[in-house]
């Protein structure tokens, strides 16, 4: 058994920010960072974007090993899975080994959902980890005929990378409109046009029956019987929180997706235990309810705050945010702020031929979200308006005036 201290389970963005913030705030005790992958903590957004471009791949690793071990003084345990948690004894189990904690941050993230009966078939990949991204990149380098299952943001970014290389791309989506949950159906339909303009064969309302191939993927068979030849199949059908190791620990999990239930300060129902990042359901005051986000900015901010609150380095501070994500498709920068469950969406500006869009989302008399395409100067002003609970009228007037000028 080891001396206690701060233990962070999960060595991606939220976990890294947790250890960095602990040190920045002056915590001098022991810090252990446990990561299931062999890699040093790395940045995920580039993996489906510039990492897939032709030419030298970008290096997504955040910090050199020396910086983590020596400068931050972190006991780094990579390639190690947490297998259990005992909240009463305050220990995290890594197989036979036990690591005790006085403060714990759960930041185990989410793992990509997969299609049944495709395990072991070469050429079929999710895009979540660095290893996934390397495999996809290699296939694109080889000129793969690419089929993407799931027209969400990851799938759309892979489609974009493959088309930029001039490869044939089929994008298969089970829903009749993509991105409904993220941006609403009207805007999801509009964004899908970007793929068609770039020559993607977009198949909406099409389920996957099976992937055929002996040893490696050869074709994707759809539920309508269509058969699409494929050398590379990228599956982007969402991710689920990695909390299997918490089963039986007494930690409260969401009954639907098994994410970790936290209060507004990211505290979990066990002393000294906090959660951050993709696993974390917390209570948002701004949106009056529980939210779980899989966004870069919230993972970074929550990681930082969870460590601060877990170590009681100051009075426990609640977390809140206006959710923000971005996605790069072809030459379009798509940005979304807020919470998409709206009563009504108003398109303020649709210079769609020039690839520009600004849409505002109303709930009751408040602005709750905004979507822009290639309108980078407006989005953060709208984000601040949502944070300050701006009225709908105020938001529309602001946006219309900005678009006129």
């Amino acid at each position: 058994m080891e001396k206690d201290g701060l233990v962070v389970v999960g060595a991606s963005l939220a976990g890294l920010r947790a250890v960095e913030s602990a040190r920045r705030l002056g915590y001098s005790g022991r810090i252990t960072l446990i990561g299931a992958e062999e890699h040093l903590p790395y940045d995920r957004p580039p993996l489906s974007k510039e990492f897939l471009a032709s030419g030298e791949p970008v290096d997504p690793v955040f910090r050199a090993e020396r910086a983590l071990r020596e400068e931050l003084g972190v006991d780094l345990r990579l390639g190690r899975y947490a297998t259990g948690l005992d909240c009463r004894q305050r220990v995290v189990r890594l197989g036979d080994e036990e690591v005790s904690y006085s403060a714990l941050v759960i930041a185990t993230g989410a793992q990509a959902r997969t299609l049944p009966d495709t395990a072991g078939l070469r050429g079929v990949h999710a895009l979540r980890t660095l290893d996934d991204a390397r495999s996809v990149r290699e296939a694109l380098d080889a000129g793969a005929r690419t089929v993407i299952v799931g027209a969400g943001f990851i799938g759309s970014e892979v489609a974009s990378a493959a088309r930029k290389r001039g490869l044939p791309v089929t994008l298969v989506e089970a829903a009749t409109v993509p991105l409904t949950r993220s941006v609403g159906s009207e805007m999801g339909g509009l964004l899908a046009e970007l793929h068609r303009r770039q020559g993607v064969d977009l198949r909406l309302g099409a389920g996957v029956q099976r992937i055929d191939g002996s040893g490696s993927a050869e074709s994707v068979v759809l539920t309508n019987g269509a058969e699409i030849p494929a050398d590379l199949v990228v599956v982007g059908i969402g991710a689920a929180p990695c909390t299997g190791w918490l089963e039986g620990s007494g930690i409260d999990l969401d009954p639907r997706d098994k994410g970790v239930l936290c209060d507004s300060t990211l505290a979990v129902n066990a002393p000294g235990v906090y959660a951050a990042g993709d696993v974390c359901h917390w209570i948002s005051d701004l949106f009056r309810g529980r939210l779980r986000l899989e966004h870069w900015t919230s993972a970074a901010e929550q990681g930082s705050l969870a460590a601060r609150n877990a170590l009681s380095l100051d009075d426990a501070k609640p977390y809140d945010t206006v959710p923000y994500f971005w996605s790069d498709w072809y030459d379009s920068r798509i940005q979304f702020v807020g919470e998409p469950h709206a009563d009504d969406i108003q398109v303020v500006d649709k210079e769609w031929e020039d690839g520009k869009l600004l849409a505002l989302y109303r709930k009751a008399d408040r602005l709750v979200a905004a979507l822009t395409v290639n309108r980078p100067t407006l989005i953060m002003k709208l984000r601040r308006m949502i944070a300050s609970r701006a009225s709908w009228q105020e938001a529309v007037e602001f946006a219309e005036e900005k678009v006129r000028n």
Binding site: T297, S304, Y324, P376
Partner: protein, 64 residues
Amino acid sequence: MRITVDRSKCTALGVCESLAPELFEVQEDGSLIILNERPEGSLCSAAREAVEGCPTEALRIEED
């Protein structure tokens, strides 16, 4: 303090503007303008937050 931006890393995601609108503004062409390179007083902590929040680690603070 002095704020600097590495233009080869900045992709105008705007997190800095969201955290410190007095100091940063993304332009319509996707470039970032630093409105005040040498913040003082309470703006210094906003500047530090913006630097920490940058998803591409394009911002830096040079202490005087």
